[in-house]
């Protein structure tokens, strides 16, 4: 028995997914909307970025399906109670990663703890030695000898699995494309492999294969070893960094979701209506953007803490508290970042307003609301889209900095910012504990790189000015 839990950010994420899906379905049928997206997918870096982003998003979505387990009850008739610990589908999927915790630090693929401990000998006396890990390499009889071979064997298995899966995927893609284009299988295969297909299937296939390799490697190795080591209290770093993905995505996407309505509405209104409305809106965003952002964020986070301290009954679990803080962080980041988009939109609407077809529409007495929704809004959407995609990577990076300043996500939450922040201290240890930093770096870097490549592709596709080049 489980009880689903919908956190605030979960709800918003699902809302976002719903909106995106609706838009995708809508755009499918409109060629002028489809074309630029096709352009994105057809560019080589773009297609690669899409594959990577999809992987991240799937992990993030899985991690957003929260639930609470029912507690066992002795007598059947009694009311069921649920554990106050909230789990997610991702936790269920990676199972042992969450629960297999060691005592303290251990290096990646280690079979022994990183620090020496005093061990009481059964016959009395003490020795200082590196104790065996409880889980990492548990199955090995003689880790010093067997570990390398075992890791190689497992990697070999992963490679074989990848090859099988990769070939299967290639087969499927080719079959599907051949079927769609009414071509012979071999012709299609040649087209794909020689990179003559419009959509760069070869690149997509290679990206998918690499992704598959990573997944199989993780599946084979992560259950038996701590592939990224363990942290100070023995938690698996790989698990932490997987959990951090959701935090990064939430900050990157919800912030924009929250700020978009304001920015679009205010920006277009200011540009279209002009006069005193324009003055008021301009005044608002100039004021907001002239306050140093960190100060605004610090104040809001403090304010939230006051509220939570005064209403402890509203936040039952640690996760809920962390979640509400994450949400507020997104909101306040949205408030500090909507001004830029608002200014752009205002400028664009000012220009559009003077366009002949809008002048004509006005002359015909078309209602303002209709002009805005029919003529202006569709014509500024590319700006909105480009800004959103561009902002995403900046926001993911900002989380780390804010956490360093002390106004970031809740310290109990898994996030790259928190990982980097504690890794700072680990870098000062002798010998250096580098794996947390490395894990956070790799996962964060990959996401931001993919987002940047994606945003490049989106800009190329949507910005008519750039497409001339």
């Amino acid at each position: 028995m489980i009880m689903p839990v919908i956190l605030w950010t979960d709800a918003l994420i699902f809302l976002l997914v719903a909106i995106t899906t609706a838009f995708a379905l809508y755009a499918r049928r409109k060629p002028h909307l489809r074309a630029p997206w096709r352009h994105v997918v057809c560019s080589r870096p773009g297609s690669m970025a899409v594959v990577i982003l999809c992987a991240y998003i799937i992990i993030g979505l899985l991690d957003s399906l929260h639930y609470r387990l029912a507690l066992e009850s002795n007598d059947a008739g009694a009311e069921t109670h649920y554990a106050s610990e909230v789990l997610s589908a991702l936790d269920a999927l990676v199972g042992p990663l969450r629960t297999q915790t060691e005592k303290t630090y251990s290096a990646p693929f280690a079979t022994h703890l990183f620090t020496r401990e005093t061990i009481q000998q059964p016959e009395g006396g003490q020795t200082r030695e590196y104790p065996r890990l409880k889980y990492g390499g548990r199955h090995l009889q003689n880790p010093a000898v067997d570990a390398r071979a075992d890791i190689l064997r497992r990697s070999g298995v992963a490679l074989a699995q990848t090859l099988t899966a990769g070939l299967a995927v290639l087969l499927l893609i080719t079959l599907w494309q051949a079927h769609r284009r009414q071509q012979a299988f071999t012709t299609m295969l040649r087209t794909i492999l020689k990179r003559r297909s419009e959509v760069p299937w070869l690149i997509i296939w290679i990206s998918l294969s690499i992704l598959a390799l990573l997944i199989f490697l993780a599946a084979n190795l992560a259950t038996a070893y701590h592939v990224f080591g363990t942290d100070k209290v023995g938690e698996d770093v790989f698990y932490q960094t997987l959990k951090s993905i959701r935090t990064g995505l939430v900050i990157g996407t919800l912030t924009t979701l929250i700020m978009l309505p304001f920015a679009i509405f205010m920006g277009i209104l200011a540009g279209y209506a002009r006069g005193w409305i324009d003055d008021v809106i301009q005044y608002t965003y100039t004021t907001l953007s002239s306050i140093p952002g960190v100060l605004l964020i610090a104040a809001t986070i403090l304010m939230l803490q006051v509220y939570m301290a005064n209403h402890p009954e509203l936040f039952e679990t640690t996760l809920e508290r962390a979640d509400i803080r994450l949400l507020f962080l997104s909101i306040i980041l949205g408030i500090t970042s909507w001004t830029g988009l608002c200014r752009l939109l205002r400028g664009e609407s000012l220009k559009l307003r003077e366009a002949e077809y809008i002048q004509a529409a006005t002359a015909f007495g078309v209602r303002h609301s209709k002009i805005i929704s029919r003529h202006i809004l569709p014509n500024v959407m590319h700006i909105v889209l480009i800004t959103v995609v561009l902002d995403f990577s900046g926001l993911v990076l900002a989380e780390a900095v804010l956490t360093y300043v002390g106004v970031g996500v809740d310290p109990t939450m898994n996030s790259w910012g928190n990982m980097i922040n504690s890794a700072r201290l680990e870098m000062a240890r002798e010998p250096v504990v580098w794996w947390s930093l490395l894990a956070a770096f790799l996962f964060m870097f990959t996401l931001v790189l993919a987002a940047n490549l994606f945003s490049d592709a989106v800009r190329d596709a949507f910005d008519p000015r750039l497409r001339q080049h």
């Binding site: 209290v233 310290p411 000062a428």
Partner: protein, 738 residues
């Protein structure tokens, strides 16, 4: 050195030699024997300067207000209270500093008649301490004492205009000094009640020092009258207002009169609160314009101690320089057994202080500090107990262990059981976790067993801590070694020493407390407990995860309620917290200073005291009052043992641990011995600058080849680019691709 102090050349040969040497020095520097990464001016490399750091600037250097350890580490070197702790001896012993002897109280009855020394405390109305100070002690040079040729003070009547360009104390041209007199001590005691200052110990002291409370009221009235119409606050001359509890007997003697008895006073007499403050300084600093320019006693202390603060730039550095007027003191020639072997008595009888100058640089982050220490640019490293100020957090340096490489560098590790305690407390007012019935006790005991302090110490302190059995840390009277001191509710005694009781036992206790399997026996609801904390540091995530794990062992759900420092304080004051962590750092080596943390009259919610758990037990309180006034001895130990038994049964804290103070020193650093009571240890320290300079140079040879590689790489980029550019330029331009 060949150069004369005035800089004029000696004879020709020496002059030539000097030029040659200088040239050589330049050449050597160019050949870079001198490290590139030295964070200090090169010319200081061989000077007798100690390098240290501060993470956050001290808030108060006024001896009336400075209390936290990061403040006392400065004021302790500058101000000299009448007493001090012996640097080497253990247990901590008080010895005279400026006084001629440790004062003994004389007991009086209500009529002022002398009572015998063995009078029971409840019959004593007043105790009187006469303190004689040594003649011939002089203050550091300070503009407040500056006099012109006629003996008139120069700077005592400054106004805002004549201050001109003066923004720091060092900008004053003239300085002077004066002999220390008993009146200066009395002046400072009166300052405890000063209406414009808030001494943290005023509340405590007004309970004891005769007339101090009324004195504060008198001064408040006077101060309001003195305040000018535009907010100018004139000089409040405390000499004009007598205080019953502190009086001058003669030039070198003063008297402190207490209501009842308070044997702990002598410990306070070793803290800067009871250091002398000359009235001239007070008057000097209260001139108009001084406050605006931030020239106050809080920033520029004036004392008789071995060092004086010459630069106080909170943005960058603080500098202590040897006080030229220091009265002189010698290194102790006796210590604990073993000190002689450790080389701690090698300097016996030599004149203090050894170090010429101490430079404290601003260093916010732990990593740079640590790395610079390893490079030899800081002389010592260790955690201060600053962390107490932020409720609880243990510094990252606590993770350090001596590796082969560090041993090779000659770094030494000094540890001492510190006189502090970090504990996890239960709010006794809470309906779930608090209360004095057997069920609540069992719940607390079960949790105390489940929180594996030994593991905490091993993970977060690298083994540098001692699990606490009760509030009293080792080194303080009342602490019991071995099995007698073990808390029987948490530990089993086995042949291999004490063992934490099993989790099964804890679960059984939990069941008896009404929560079998961590669920309420009546409703079946899971038991959810709240942990309130100020989580800010980078280490907190791991710490909170760990704590969560401990409660999960008992199937108890722990909700971590992180908040900011102020909100945490507010919760503690209102008593809405449930479980919290806190710490206490000894003011003085007396069990009273720890046992009062659980005294009913110190309850946080009711009296805004230091008893954060709001624990109250009538029997404990009664015993506390008795214990407080007893001299150390078997009788006192017996009373303390009874108090311990009560506490361990009630389990208002999980007792936590006593961190071991540790410090790392380089091989050129001598006479380091952790002394957690003495705040003036700097004067005993010695460094060998030549040895240091040699080792620094050896450790910091720059690795230069990457620069070469970088240069080659640049060439590899630039040359093809240039070639291609030339080629294009020669091509006809119209072949534009666009």
């Amino acid at each position: 050195m060949l150069r004369r102090p005035d800089g004029t050349p000696g004879n020709q040969a020496a002059y030539g030699c000097a030029v040659l040497l200088a040239l050589q020095a330049v050449l050597l520097a160019a050949c870079s024997d001198e490290p590139w990464n030295r964070p200090y001016p090169a010319q200081d490399a061989h000077r007798n300067i100690m390098y240290s750091s501060f993470q956050e600037r001290p808030n108060h250097l006024d001896p009336v207000q400075s209390y936290s350890s990061n403040e006392v580490r400065f004021t302790g070197q500058i101000y000299e209270p009448p007493l001090q702790y012996h640097y080497l001896e253990r247990p901590y012993a008080l010895v005279p500093l400026t006084a001629t002897a440790v004062p003994q109280p004389v007991y009086l009855d209500a009529d002022g008649e002398r009572l015998p020394d063995d009078t029971p405390p409840e019959n004593v109305s007043f105790s009187v301490y006469d303190i004689h100070i040594q003649p011939g002690i002089h203050y550091q040079p300070h503009p407040a004492f500056a006099q012109d040729a006629d003996g008139r003070p120069i700077y005592q009547d400054l106004d805002e205009k004549s201050l001109g360009d003066i923004y720091a104390l060092g900008d004053f041209e003239h300085t002077g000094s004066r002999e220390l007199v008993a009146g200066d001590y009395v002046y400072q005691i009166k300052r405890l009640a000063h209406p414009r200052l808030h001494s943290p110990i005023f509340g405590l002291m007004s309970d004891y020092i005769a007339g101090l409370g009324d004195y504060a009221n008198t001064l408040k009235v006077v101060s309001t009258e003195l305040t000018g119409p535009n907010g100018d606050r004139g000089f409040l001359d405390l000499r004009e207002y007598p205080l019953e509890g502190a009086t001058v007997i003669d030039r070198y003697t003063y008297r402190i009169k207490l209501r009842g008895t308070y044997p702990q006073l002598r410990y306070w007499l070793a803290m800067p609160f009871f250091a002398p403050v000359p009235w001239e300084a007070d008057r000097f600093y209260s001139r108009p314009g001084m406050q605006e320019r931030n020239i106050t006693l809080d920033w520029y202390p004036v004392g008789t101690g071995p060092y004086m603060l010459t630069i106080n730039n909170p943005n960058r550095q603080m500098v202590l320089v040897r006080n030229p007027n220091f009265h002189g003191e010698t290194y102790p020639d006796e210590g604990e057994p073993g000190d002689a072997d450790a080389g701690l008595l090698d300097d016996a009888g030599k004149a203090l202080p050894f170090i010429e100058r101490v430079i404290y640089s601003l260093e916010k982050e732990d990593i740079p500090y640590w790395n610079k220490f390893l490079q030899g640019y800081y002389d010592t490293s260790g955690i201060t107990s600053d962390s107490f100020d932020q409720a609880i957090s243990v510094g990252s340096a606590g993770e350090v262990s001596l590796t082969e490489a560090m041993l090779e560098q000659g770094i030494e590790l000094k540890t001492a059981a510190s006189t502090s305690i970090y504990y996890t407390g239960f709010n006794m007012l809470d309906p779930v976790i608090g209360g004095y019935n057997e069920q609540a006790r069992k719940l607390r005991q079960a949790i105390s067993i489940a929180i594996d302090t030994e593991e905490y110490i091993s993970i977060f302190l690298n083994g540098r801590g001692i699990p606490a059995q009760n509030p009293i840390p080792p080194g303080i009277f009342g602490f019991r070694e071995g099995e007698a001191g073990i808390n029987p509710y948490i530990y089993d005694l086995t042949v291999n020493g004490p063992r934490r009781k099993s989790l099964d036992y804890a679960r059984q206790l939990l069941a008896e407390a009404g929560y079998p399997e961590g669920r309420d026996i009546n409703t079946g609801k899971p038991l959810v407990l709240n942990f309130d904390t100020t989580a800010t540091g980078p280490d907190d995530k791991a710490r909170l995860n760990w704590l969560h794990k401990q409660f999960t062992k008992l199937s108890i759900q722990l909700v971590i309620r992180g908040t900011d420092y102020n909100r945490f304080q507010e919760k503690m004051l209102k008593g809405t917290a449930q479980i919290f962590q806190w710490g206490w750092n000894a003011d003085y080596p007396d069990p009273e200073n720890f046992l009062f943390l659980l005294h009913g009259e110190q309850a946080k919610v009711e009296y805004n005291g230091e008893n954060a758990a709001n624990y109250r037990n009538a029997e404990y309180d009664r015993l506390f009052s008795r214990m407080k006034n007893m001299p150390n001895g078997p009788q006192r130990q017996q009373v303390i043992n009874r108090m311990m038994a009560i506490l361990q049964h009630d389990a208002p804290w999980t007792w936590g641990f006593h961190p071991k103070q540790f410090s790392l020193t380089h091989s050129w650093y001598y006479n380091a011995k952790p002394n957690l009571m003495a705040n003036n240890a700097l004067k005993y320290q010695r460094i060998d600058p030549e040895q240091r300079a040699a080792l620094q140079a050896e450790w910091n040879r720059p690795v230069r080849w990457p620069l070469g590689v970088l240069f080659l790489l640049l060439l590899a980029v630039i040359i093809p680019a240039w070639v291609s550019y030339r080629r294009r330029q020669r091509q006809p331009a119209y072949r534009d691709k666009h």
